[in-house]
Symmetry: none
Subunit: 247 residues, 2 copies
Amino acid sequence: MTPFPIRIVLVDSSHPGNIGAVARAMKNMGLRHLHLVRPREFPHAEATARASGADDVLAAAVVCDSVGAALEGCGLVLATTSRGRDHYHRVFDVREAAQRAVAEAASAPVALLFGAERTGLTNDDLRNAHGLLRIPTSDEYASLNLAMAVQVVSYELLRASREVTPPPLLRTQPLASAQQMDLLYEHLQVVLNDIDFRDRTQSGVNLITRIRAFLQRAELDINEVNILRGILSAVQQRRRRAGEQHS
Amino acid sequence: MTPFPIRIVLVDSSHPGNIGAVARAMKNMGLRHLHLVRPREFPHAEATARASGADDVLAAAVVCDSVGAALEGCGLVLATTSRGRDHYHRVFDVREAAQRAVAEAASAPVALLFGAERTGLTNDDLRNAHGLLRIPTSDEYASLNLAMAVQVVSYELLRASREVTPPPLLRTQPLASAQQMDLLYEHLQVVLNDIDFRDRTQSGVNLITRIRAFLQRAELDINEVNILRGILSAVQQRRRRAGEQHS
């Protein structure tokens, strides 16, 4: 994937460990462009340690002395703030913000601002923002760790940048056909009659119908159907043999 | 908000800092129930430091010596694995998984498993899982930090809990517990031995493991487990009676 031109801008970060964790969170989600405005300590061994396999993102980080410098060349600017809203800015939910950011990044780099761990972004930091980005949290404890906030934002950016669909079940065998499943249920019915099995749950629903319900959910492949039919045959053979001996 | 009964289960975590960060990530998103299976170091000063305002979640964490103990009382079990998929489990995207987990948590506690930092979850840890939970990542660097993975999952859980989502499966009965499923597999093993059943597909994979795979996918409720155990008991009784007559 070509790294999309979205810039993560950390303003006045005080913990170098967080900077490293941010680099890793970004790279995990396909982001590469990290800008650091007045980091208190950088470079730093703890940043490198926490970056883990994202040391390249850390090494390429651009250190700036003002927010304005970090925004150079950017179009859309969104600011993450725990205050949630003010009187001036539109507030975007992080999911909607990510979709907007990815769309805007097609025409110019997008900047996402994150403030200092304790104090967040100042009003002056917000002056170039087009809107605020809000991550939903529990009312009881709303303050996300800085790197965690970047992780959630980066995750939504990755999702927005691709259609996320879970992979289908990894099969080595094709799904059993409707006919094969019907034969399985017929076989099962014969064996249930043989062993004189009665459903004692008294739900009023036919037993095979109930078994069918959960075996259809399991989406059996051909081998799996063969295992079940093999077990049914083994039950029949044992009974037959026992019957022969006793007759 | 009432904390919803979703359990975060960390298996074999090696870094106490991660445990603290997990507690904070959870509380930020309204989760409270943390279970630690064989943590290498806990309690620990670094865990407390990183937990920040979530020291209550950390203090209430339940330490267990097995995954089975951590799953006690749970219904749906999903496992987070970076391997993404295997041949047995259905894979849920984290967003879909969160919706399912919130829906299922209405009837019984849900457990979400997270493996050790370097090695992830073992096949044995996965045996009670109904499915795998996948967080989308960049192909270039897919390995999320443990606490970051919990953050993303917890974030999606919070979102899911605030959305109205229809339950995926209309259940009249609760999902069978991990223990009830284990008893079913043990019963099945006894009957397979009784009827001297041999797997002829020669896949090299243990037969019960293969049956477990598709029955876990089926997400059986308590009644469905009772139907299967009833059939197994009927097979045993018939054999016993036949044996008595012929001896």
